[in-house]
Symmetry: C2
Subunit: 214 residues, 2 copies
Amino acid sequence: MPQQKSEHIPRATIQRLAVYVQVLENLQREGTEVISSEPLAKACNVNASQIRKDLAYFGEFGVRGVGYYVKNLIASITSALGVDREWRTVLVGVGNLGKALLNHKEFRLRGFNIVGAFDCDPFKIGEEVSGLEVVCTKRLREMIGDNGAEIGIITTPPERAQRAANHLVEAGINGILNFAPSRITVPDHVNVEYVDFFHHLYALSFNITHPNTK
Amino acid sequence: MPQQKSEHIPRATIQRLAVYVQVLENLQREGTEVISSEPLAKACNVNASQIRKDLAYFGEFGVRGVGYYVKNLIASITSALGVDREWRTVLVGVGNLGKALLNHKEFRLRGFNIVGAFDCDPFKIGEEVSGLEVVCTKRLREMIGDNGAEIGIITTPPERAQRAANHLVEAGINGILNFAPSRITVPDHVNVEYVDFFHHLYALSFNITHPNTK
DNA sequence: CCAAATTTGTGAAATAATTCTCATAAGTTA
DNA sequence: TAACTTATGAGAATTATTTCACAAATTTGG
Ligand SMILES: NC(=O)c1ccc[n+]([C@@H]2O[C@H](COP(=O)([O-])OP(=O)(O)OC[C@H]3O[C@@H](n4cnc5c(N)ncnc54)[C@H](O)[C@@H]3O)[C@@H](O)[C@H]2O)c1
Ligand SMILES: NC(=O)c1ccc[n+]([C@@H]2O[C@H](COP(=O)([O-])OP(=O)(O)OC[C@H]3O[C@@H](n4cnc5c(N)ncnc54)[C@H](O)[C@@H]3O)[C@@H](O)[C@H]2O)c1
């Protein structure tokens, strides 16, 4: 089990570790058992020493003269990221996107188990989606007390995201994945990640418009 | 119209510009007409001089002693990003996610107009989704020649993403938004952005697991 | 069992990004 | 119109991240 060696780990490193896992899993699916940092770097579009430095924050996972055992490295990185366990999550806002996510099997497969679905619309409360009964947002606190969820997913309209966040924070959640296109304010101990694919489209737009500045 | 002043613009700056637009649009919706870098920074969770530096890459948009006119600043940033126009896009892989995206109105509203839907499954070809007829991927090149799309969206399974990318590149696209959880290889002139919300969940998982290292 | 070939892990060097500081410009008030 | 207030824009200082370069470790082949 990898132990963290250093104090501060750059956010960029965490993002890259997620990419390494993705690429390593695809390599594993294709039958690769061992890989060295050079070809892995090429597949991930980064520098080889970048990979070695990123891994060095957590321990020594390679074999000199050989490389990395794909299976072991996946296990080491997922353990370092803390994704080698079940994370219980709840979802707030059972609209189009919320329903699509509730039906998406991959969440459970990857250990992110959605165990509660909440909405404030009286017409939606009581409805069943993907085996879960939609519950009134007001009951978030009591329900999370029961099921011990730690991560909240927000899929409400943007102007409701802050309210949903407040409910989640009050209920004791300490991580939020926000799909609504608005920033939310939470206490320091609560982590927030934003998913907004327009941000990516904007980046594409910029890079296509200014090909020289890349 | 803002003119780019400097050579290289950090990727992080582009990402933040997208956040600024998002926050400014929400401020505008709430009736704010002028804002200075300090409160805007607070709302975006960044440093105020960071905002001023980011904007300085593109020109001078503020008024000393006053701040920024929200409406003007939105216009300036969107123009800098190149999103003050229509971008014609095509989508490859009309499955669950692909259909959800085709039905999502926001794309057109934001100027990213999906003008073609492609799939390789003979049962899907000919089907109509959100006013578009699903066409065989093989016909990508001829169709793009007709409709002049510049951006491709990939929503195929991960092991098919590279093939889809190859088709798109051959058809002359120069930007790809890849929702499949696999990295793709493309020529230098083609820009790729990846959307993977497991990466964000992994980041949450890490930050919750190691609260001290933040 | 030793030598050659690899490839890791890491401190040092080079780059890059962020934050600080303050002169300068614009607006406001009397 | 002059004094005062405010907040930008830009260079300097600081801090962070990435890349380089090489010693150390391991395997493999003779
Ligand atoms: N639909 C998509 O493909 C898509 C893609 C990207 C982002 N988004 C974003 O995701 C969010 C949801 O999109 P959607 O298309 O599902 O919208 P939607 O209107 O279908 O769903 C929103 C749901 O949130 C519920 N809600 C509103 N306020 C609430 C509150 N305070 N507490 C709990 N529930 C509340 C509503 O009752 C509704 O069921 C939006 O912010 C949208 O911008 C959607
Ligand atoms: N469904 C979700 O909520 C979701 C969320 C995040 C990411 N994703 C990812 O998005 C991708 C699609 O997911 P999905 O649930 O829509 O899967 P899906 O199986 O429903 O759809 C995939 C579609 O791609 C088509 N396809 C396969 N190979 C193709 C090719 N070479 N050219 C053109 N079309 C091709 C298939 O015929 C099918 O229609 C997957 O990679 C998945 O991991 C899905």
